[in-house]
């Protein structure tokens, strides 16, 4: 079946068998290997991608069902080749990964959360990554990474184009909550981000 998809802002087409999951299509047809295949039946969260900005398990969706949506994979987050997004960088800084297998899913789940709110509570973060299994870190540093990224994003002096304040109500404004100076000084992870 011919399938037309929007992946990371680009239109891509392929001839895909109906029984092929979005996960397999991303990896095999479009060579986007950042989306990891873990359990392949909807338990581990390694294959998480964003569909219209919300996290979804790509192993629980067939590629033929995915037309008409904006699909974002881990490859679509960084601003340029060789760059990292704020969240990706935060995972590095706080050692929010070891083997890296769960990391793309964790980062995409965190990305969706931080588009809803830049002041997540610890419970919000735990809930957002509750569908993603990590067998290395014990989750502590992952939660810390998301808190750290939220803190940096709050202080960032940039426009955040993906914010959808009307839809989610509690989204932050696009002006930095605190000054650039604080951003420069924010090299310590903030444990209680509020």
């Amino acid at each position: 079946m011919k399938v037309d998809l929007r992946i990371n802002g680009a239109s891509r087409s392929a001839d895909i068998e109906p029984r092929k999951t979005l996960l397999d299509a991303l990896r095999e047809n479009f060579l986007l290997n950042g989306t990891h295949a873990g359990c392949e039946h909807g338990v581990c969260g390694a294959c998480t991608v964003l569909v219209d900005g919300e996290p979804v398990r790509s192993c629980l969706m067939f590629a033929v069902q995915a037309d008409g949506y904006e699909i974002t994979t881990i490859e679509g987050l960084a601003s340029a080749p060789g760059e990292l997004s704020v969240i990706q960088d935060a995972f590095c800084e706080t050692h929010g990964l070891q083997c890296g297998y769960c990391t793309p899913g964790m980062i995409l789940a965190a990305d969706a959360l931080l588009r809803h709110t830049l002041t997540p509570t610890r419970e919000d973060i735990v809930e957002a990554i509750s569908g993603n299994i990590c067998r290395c870190t014990g989750y502590g540093q992952i939660i810390e990474a998301v808190q750290f990224a939220a803190d940096r994003l709050r202080k960032a002096n940039t426009l955040r184009p993906h914010h959808d304040a009307a839809h989610h109500g509690h989204a932050e404004r696009d002006t930095p909550a605190e000054g650039v100076l604080e951003a420069a000084e924010a090299d310590e992870p903030v444990v209680e981000a509020k």
Binding site: G42, T48, V51, M61, S130
Partner: protein
């Protein structure tokens, strides 16, 4: 590719979907796919044809009518979770949704899909049975509906026939002003299948006496159960009355037993969770003033 090969069809109308289903007994409906796709991956299900109803306009949307809220079958669980109409008018559904799977599965999983799947431990069927919701069904002969109590038959078995598909769920809205809900469940891990789940809704008058009470139990029987709480009407939902009503209602219930929880354990947890759910609902209702609009 793990699933067995199948043909994928996306009909453009509900009538076409029903005709496709009626014409092929190897055909199955897919919407959110959060339960069906794992079953396909493990080859526990091998349908020859998948009929994708997710984008049918007739099945979308949440609307209010007098005394009820009608939730379209393909309403995503995540969408229902933050919907203001559901929060205001079907608070029990809003309360259980965070317990349904995880954020990524709720973004795809649908309300109608959970109903049609009829897992005895699932939260959405429990709410439907507890509140006495009506299941609206599309058939090749047009729409029909039935009470959820008749719809759920046994684990993963419903009254749906060939050529039929759940089109919406009609949740009744209580007319009273002081309504409170309670929900508790015990599972091995958060958002895993519930061994026992209890959902309660009560309405109080200005003096704190119970006008109406509904209590449902999931995970214990082979389908969600609504317990008779009529003896609580007129009481102040004191511990003794609640305890008597729950013990009487649970007396004849046969509890399931499996690897994870014995029948005796489920029964013991059921009594405790039922009491706590009613108490939670009472406290929730008491916090609302008698004069305030619902």
């Amino acid at each position: 590719m793990k699933p067995a090969p199948f043909e994928y069809v996306r009909p453009t109308s509900l009538a076409e979907a029903c005709a496709l289903l009626a014409g092929d007994e190897e055909a199955r409906v897919i919407a959110g796919g959060q339960t069906l796709v794992p079953m396909l991956a493990m080859r526990l299900a091998r349908p020859a044809k998948l009929i994708d109803i997710l984008r049918l306009p007739e099945l979308a949307g949440i609307r209010e009518e007098s005394g009820a809220v009608i939730v379209g079958a393909t309403t995503r669980q995540a969408q229902a979770e933050r919907d203001p109409v559901i929060r205001a008018s079907v608070p029990m559904l809003a309360k259980v949704l965070p317990w349904v799977g995880h954020p990524p599965t709720r973004n795809r999983g649908t309300i109608g899909g959970s109903i049609a799947n009829a897992d005895p431990s699932a939260e959405i069927p429990l709410v439907a049975v507890t509140l006495g919701a009506e299941i609206m069904i599309a058939t090749t002969n047009g729409p029909k509906s039935m009470p959820s109590d008749d719809f759920f038959i046994e684990p993963m078995v419903t009254a749906l026939g060939q050529g039929e598909c759940v089109s919406a769920i009609r949740f009744p809205v209580w007319p009273h002003r002081r309504i409170g809900v309670g929900f508790l469940e015990v599972s091995a891990r958060r958002s895993d299948f519930a061994f026992v789940a209890a959902a309660a809704q009560v309405a109080l008058d200005g003096e704190g006496r119970c006008i109406d009470a509904a209590l449902g139990l999931g995970g214990v029987g082979d389908r969600p159960l609504r317990l008779d709480m009529s003896s609580l009407v007129g009481t102040e939902l004191d511990a003794a009355s609640v305890s008597d009503a729950i013990n009487a209602a649970l007396a004849d219930i046969e509890a399931a037993s499996d690897l994870h929880a014995s029948a005796a354990y489920r029964r013991r947890v059921a009594v405790t969770l039922c009491k706590r759910a009613v108490e939670q609902a009472r406290v929730n209702a008491s916090a609302k003033s008698a004069g305030a609009a619902r």
